[in-house]
């Protein structure tokens, strides 16, 4: 583990981020998955997930972070999330009463009633996380290969 050498901030910051990045990421996933019963949801959870990677970028530098979560991966995640969101909405149209965003699982018993909403939350969380991290790393000025000489 590159603690005191390499790009990024100092040793204290790197050590703290090394411990914190996992809990922050998991907390984001928790907010996404429990948005239908607790405060939160796809947007808030996606922001928390993206902030874990942004924190890693600030502490360790981009080269280290982009090995975990490259820009192409971020864009793919965002696209898949948006496709999940639109796909579920269309699924409601086809299988339900013909209304866009028709809730398919609302009348079911127990936890089955949340399946549709949780799917929408996962989709929106994916595209918010991917798009935010993509926007951050692009605005830092690293997209499209190396510098020209």
């Amino acid at each position: 583990m590159l603690l005191n050498n390499g790009p990024g901030m100092g040793m204290i910051v790197k050590t703290v981020i090394r411990w914190l990045k996992g809990p922050i990421f998991l907390f984001g996933l928790y907010i996404i998955m429990f948005g239908h019963v607790a405060p939160g949801g796809g947007f808030a959870g996606g922001v928390v997930v993206a902030s874990a990677f942004i924190l890693m970028t600030l502490a360790y530098g981009e080269t280290y972070t982009l090995e975990f979560f490259s820009q192409d991966t971020a864009l793919t995640v965002a696209c898949i999330g948006l496709l999940i969101f639109i796909g579920l909405a269309w699924a409601g149209t086809w299988a339900g009463s013909g209304v866009f965003f028709d809730n398919l699982t609302a009348g079911m018993e127990g936890h089955n009633a949340h399946i549709f909403l949780t799917g929408l939350e996962v989709g929106s969380g994916m595209f918010v996380a991917g798009a935010l991290f993509m926007g951050f790393s692009v605005l830092m000025g690293h997209y499209g290969g190396e510098d020209e000489e």
Binding site: V37, A89, F101, H114, F116, F127, V128, G144, D147, E148
Partner: protein, 182 residues
């Protein structure tokens, strides 16, 4: 309230027409700003304060940017009668101010939600049937993801387009080497 709203919308339309017709670029930008602020007051009159806040914020920032972009350009300086412009500006500011005052008379009492002022407010339906109709115990999620799913889809599209635009502008070189060498 309906007469005030109709007058407000009429003024907004007049401002938009002035923005298109006027030869001076600065007057045009100011008219666009006036249209935005009049629209914000219309939102306030229609009991949508959150929309009005967003409108005022966006309008203030975009007006500053547009004026900054306009001042550097050479526009027609030889205005024949400068008093017309001054009178126009004073009228515009007075109209916005008067309508803004009127809004405060139309405001609800503190602590009275919108759904109690209108019998057929959608919010009352959301609160009453949200849990059964969507299966979500969190009413915010029920509204955002189900009742107003179009809204969330639009937000996602805006975010996605913003990132794509940033990617297109900020990338270091063209994707194909043939383009970069030319």
């Amino acid at each position: 309230m309906n007469e005030v709203l109709a007058l407000l919308i009429l003024l907004t339309v007049v401002g938009a027409i002035v923005a298109v017709v006027t030869p001076n670029l600065l007057y045009s930008v100011i008219s666009v700003g006036a249209v935005g602020f009049l629209l914000a007051i219309a939102f306030l009159l229609l009991s949508a304060p959150d929309l009005a806040v967003v409108q005022i914020g966006v309008e203030s920032i975009s007006l500053v940017i547009l004026i900054r972009a306009t001042l550097g350009r050479k526009t027609k300086k030889d205005v024949k009668n400068p008093l017309v412009g001054v009178a126009f500006a004073v009228t515009l500011v007075a109209a916005i101010g008067l309508f803004g005052l009127q809004v405060f008379y139309e405001f609800p009492q503190f602590g009275v939600p919108t759904m109690e002022r209108f019998a057929d407010a959608p919010a009352a339906t959301y609160v009453a049937t949200g849990a059964e109709a969507t299966g979500a115990r969190n009413i915010v999620t029920a509204v955002l993801m189900d009742f107003r799913g179009w809204d969330t889809l639009g937000e996602g599209t805006v975010l996605f387009c913003a990132v794509l635009g940033a990617t297109a502008i900020m990338r270091r070189r063209a994707r194909r080497k043939d383009d970069a060498s030319q």
